[in-house]
Amino acid sequence: MAISLLENASLLMLIFHSLYCISVSNSICYAIELEADVLCLKTIKSSVRDPFGHLNSWKFDNTSEYSICPFFGIECWTSGENRVKSIHLGGMRLQGQFPQGIENCRSLTELDLSGNNFSGPIPPNIGGIIPFLTYLDLSVNNFSGEIPPSLANCMYLNFLILDNNKLQGQIPPQLAQLYRLKTLNVSNNLLSGQIPEFFSLSLSSDDCTGNLGLCGAPLEPCKKHGKKSNFPVKFDVWIISGFAVGYVLSTVLAFGLCLYTHF
């Protein structure tokens, strides 16, 4: 009797404990899900090297309630909610690769990492991880590799500033789909190929200078080598065939004249 009572009691305790655990973990889950932006900044700080301590104000205690909005370089949407709108970390001599943890800052619209020592590629999936960017400044760093075509997914981009890096390859033609683009600066990189024709953006040559072989407006037109422009080849063929025909004709004419005068 006593044993079954004990069993019942422990069963009840087990059920209660499970319910408690589920509700607590749910609330912690909710808290963690709400604080994605905190995770975003935490992973940014841990993935970059900060030799001059500019991110020292980015403190992450173990308490569940704290605001990241007063952090240096951070602007939140409203006070009281940890939703990051802008990250401005220009000129802080930071090092490392592009901080991938930024994908958790889901309300981010402005990112400025200019004037640092960042290296490596711009993530190829950047258009997927921060799709609401209106302002992206990665200039004056050591970013290498190609400009990701997925940047075309950042359809709200107004300003794309990539100058003074080591970016190579072509400017992706998909970037011409960025209808809100007002400024594009790719000068002083290692880019080559045809500059895309943009919808509502007029590029100046200052935006494109200092590259390996960029061509097309506003720079010199690209030299044509493909199927579309075989005119030079045709021209050569015509000259040669013209000479050949002329030679044959004049030979026949001369021979004919010769025969005529003799008969």
């Binding site: 655990c21 589920i22 973990s25 749910n26 912690i28 889950c29 963690i32 899900e33 994605a36 995770l39 949407w77 409203t78 006070s79 009281g80 709108k85 991938q100 994908e103 958790n104 889901r106 309300s107 619209t109 993530p123 190829p124 999936n125 258009g127 997927g128 991880i129 609401f132 209106t134 990701p148 075509p149 997925s150 075309a152 997914n153 359809m155 709200y156 107004n158 998909q174 789909q177 809100r180 007002k182």
Partner: protein, 234 residues
């Protein structure tokens, strides 16, 4: 003697008139703020220092003035206030910051706020405001922050707001707004984040180009869930 007497009375009456009208000019702003106080319920007594018998409101808590004793800031965020806003707020000609966020203020946004030509920040978010966004807010040519999110505002987004070129931060999310989302003028800088959780017509979305899959494992959505999963199993 008569001339001297007349001159004396003229001087006295002009001093009297001067004294009569001088404090009235600054008191107009104190009166406007007092009208607001009368219209609000203040259980935390944050407006206790708002004494309308003082010559100007510049010594009141949560009120900031400039060197000419004219109100430039009203900071009443998170003050547990309820009640309604008043049209007299439009009389604060030098007001730059109107911070009334995170309260329980109901009623409409007064059209007269469009007269605050020096306004830089209008924060009415997290309240119980209803009615439309006044199109007069489009006259605020120095406005940088317009945060009306988390209210019960209805109607459309006034097109005149696209002419406010100084606008940097716009948040209209979590309301009952309807109609189209402007994309021209200053609104070129605003993304769906500024408009989410309304009944607005969706922005036309061109199909995204194929995104190359990332080599690293966790995606944006799964990281918090993975953490939750780990917790639930312990």
């Amino acid at each position: 003697m008569a001339k001297l007497e007349r001159a004396f009375w003229a001087l006295l009456s002009s001093i009297f008139l001067f004294d009569l009208f001088l404090p009235v000019a600054s008191n107009a702003e104190g009166d406007a703020l007092n009208a607001l106080k009368t219209n609000l319920a203040d259980p935390n007594s944050v407006l206790q220092s708002w004494d309308p018998t003082l010559v100007n409101p510049c010594t009141w808590f949560h009120v900031t003035c400039n060197s000419e004793n004219s109100v430039t800031r009203v900071d009443l965020g998170n003050a547990n206030l309820s009640g309604q806003l008043v049209s007299q707020l439009g009389l604060l000609q030098n007001l730059q910051y109107l911070e009334l966020y995170s309260n329980n203020i109901s009623g409409r946004i007064p059209e007269e706020l469009g007269n605050l030509t020096n306004l830089v920040s209008l924060d009415l978010y997290l309240n119980k405001l209803n009615g439309p966004i006044p199109s007069t807010l489009g006259k605020l040519t120095k406005l940088r922050f317009l945060r009306l999110n988390n209210n019960s505002l209805s109607g459309g987004i006034p097109m005149l707001l696209t002419t406010v070129t100084s606008l940097q931060v716009l948040d209209l999310s979590n309301n009952n707004l309807t109609g189209d989302i402007p994309t021209n003028g200053s609104f070129s800088l605003f993304t769906p984040i500024s408009f989410q959780n309304n009944h607005l017509n969706k922005l036309p979305v061109p199909p995204p180009p194929p995104i190359t899959p990332t080599p690293s494992a966790p995606s944006a959505g799964s990281r918090p869930d993975a953490a939750c999963l780990a917790l639930e199993t312990t």
